[in-house]
Amino acid sequence: MYVFTLYITGENIHAQAAIKNLQRICETAMTEECEVQIVDVLQQPEEAETHYIIATPTLVKLSPAPTRRVIGDLSDLPKVLSALGLEISSQGKTTP
């Protein structure tokens, strides 16, 4: 199972795009189930402090190891997939 935390700030366009893109990745590029916790740093600044978040959106992959961070609205799909260690072949299956 994939476990993610997505840090966003309020409901700005970057946050909305990141949520949408992550949803799409979970649905199309992943073979296993996907658990996502969304943290709004405006509501929970201490969470951002504890995890040293500077930029938003930031996606943190907690499991499977190793931990990875992806900054940005996840619009650069190939970069997101390679950063998360997802195989390009699985992407190939979904986009014939």
């Binding site: 840090y7 700030t9 309020g10 700005n12 970057h14 795009a17 990141a18 893109n21 740093v41 405006l42 600044p45 201490e46 951002a48 402090e49 040293y52 978040i53 500077i54 930029a55 938003t56 959106p57 930031t58 190793p66 931990t67 990875r68 961070r69 992806v70 900054i71 940005g72 609205d73 996840l74 619009s75 650069d76 799909l77 970069k79 997101v80 390679s82 950063a83």
Partner: protein, 492 residues
Amino acid sequence: MNLYPSIEKLPTGIAGFDDITEGGLPKGRTTLVSGTAGSGKTVLASEFLAEGIQKMGDSGVFVTFEESPEDIRRNILSLGWNVLEWEAQQRWAFVDASPRLEQETVIAGRYDFSALLARIENAVRRTGATRLAMDSLGAIFSRFEDASIVRNELFRIASALKALGVTAVMTAERRDEYGDISRFGVEEFVADNVLILRNVLESEKRRRTIEILKYRGTSHHKGEYPFTILPEKGIVIIPLAAIELKQRSSALRVSSGNRELDAMCGGGFFRDSIILVSGATGTGKTLITTEFVAGGVESGEKSLLFAFEESREQLFRNAVGWGRDFEQLEAEGKLKVVCDYPEVAGLEDHLIRMKSIIEEFQPARVAVDSLSALERISTLKGFREFVIGFTSFIKHKEIAGLFTATTPTLTGGASITETHISTITASIILLRYVEMAGEMKRGLTMLKMRGSAHDHDIHEFNIDGDGMHIGDPFRSVAGILAGHPVMIDPRG
């Protein structure tokens, strides 16, 4: 006249800084502090917060982009400030934005620094901070490759700080001491106010300076001011122009410690005047110094002697040879002799130390034997600044000062020291060897005595177990000062 009434300033509490900035940092604004590596940016940023807590009761937030909070804590503790206690009291908070090497980070899409801003705002609210430091911007530019996004976001943070009423400093790197203001052009986007810190190697000597490059809409002193970094005190800036203005002038006279010399200068030295004694080695400079400090004690004044050429033992032995017991005078608390090698510290450090000894001992007169020894360890400019800084300080305190300078040749010529400081001193006493009829004699003359009539003759003098005895003027001799005495016919 105040041309800029609208911008209030926040006193920083950093020694000398509020003098050169005419009141401190522009309140509620962000000031950029730019400097090369090792120029003291982080110390300034830390001290801005530390002095706020200690002196004004202002809390502070430190945002670090480069070093870890642990490293910064260690540096602050080494300066003598208990940052751990302040953190526990919620008067100081770190926002740790330093790079975390253990986590690989990839950038994939559009982003902003809203999370950082939220953390900063949270820390400011939590501590009630009115001061903030960000150190150092270069580190965040190298992590987020798109410089234009970083600039925009920093501008947004600076605007948010303004809205919070927080006075901030941001530090940035520069490559050269006299090149671009900062890397990445931060100054154009972020700050209306720019300070430059320099750490220049000049004639093999390190020299730290601070310059206010721009202070938009508000007045300040221009030019580079020397500063030093001391344990327990942090940054100490020497505000030359600012202190020079405050000098008073006294008509009271004090004894030189030698009755004949008093007579030559019209009844003694002025109480707040600076006397320079110039002569070749062995002409009697240390003797005049000895009589000056001992004379002070005799007339009931505390005297302080800074000796940079001779050891304590040597000095005390000399004094005994001239009938003065320094040991006894020190034991009575009327005299203090401070012996030091000039090379043990930089000139700025010497100045700070000498000032604090004066503050502590509160003498009525101070002697420095010799200034030339201090000149050896400094650049020309640094030396001049030292002399101005020191003389202004003792004049302001209405302390009589006597400095000695060593001339390079035995029989004549001016010392280098003399050339550079003669305009600052009120009186110059020249000591010269005079060769006459195959015999070496000693000559003394008052070259100038500001604001008073004085003797213009060149007198012969002798030294014995009681000290110095000034005799009659040399007659029928010319060219003594130039070092080439020739007999002239007294009948003209």
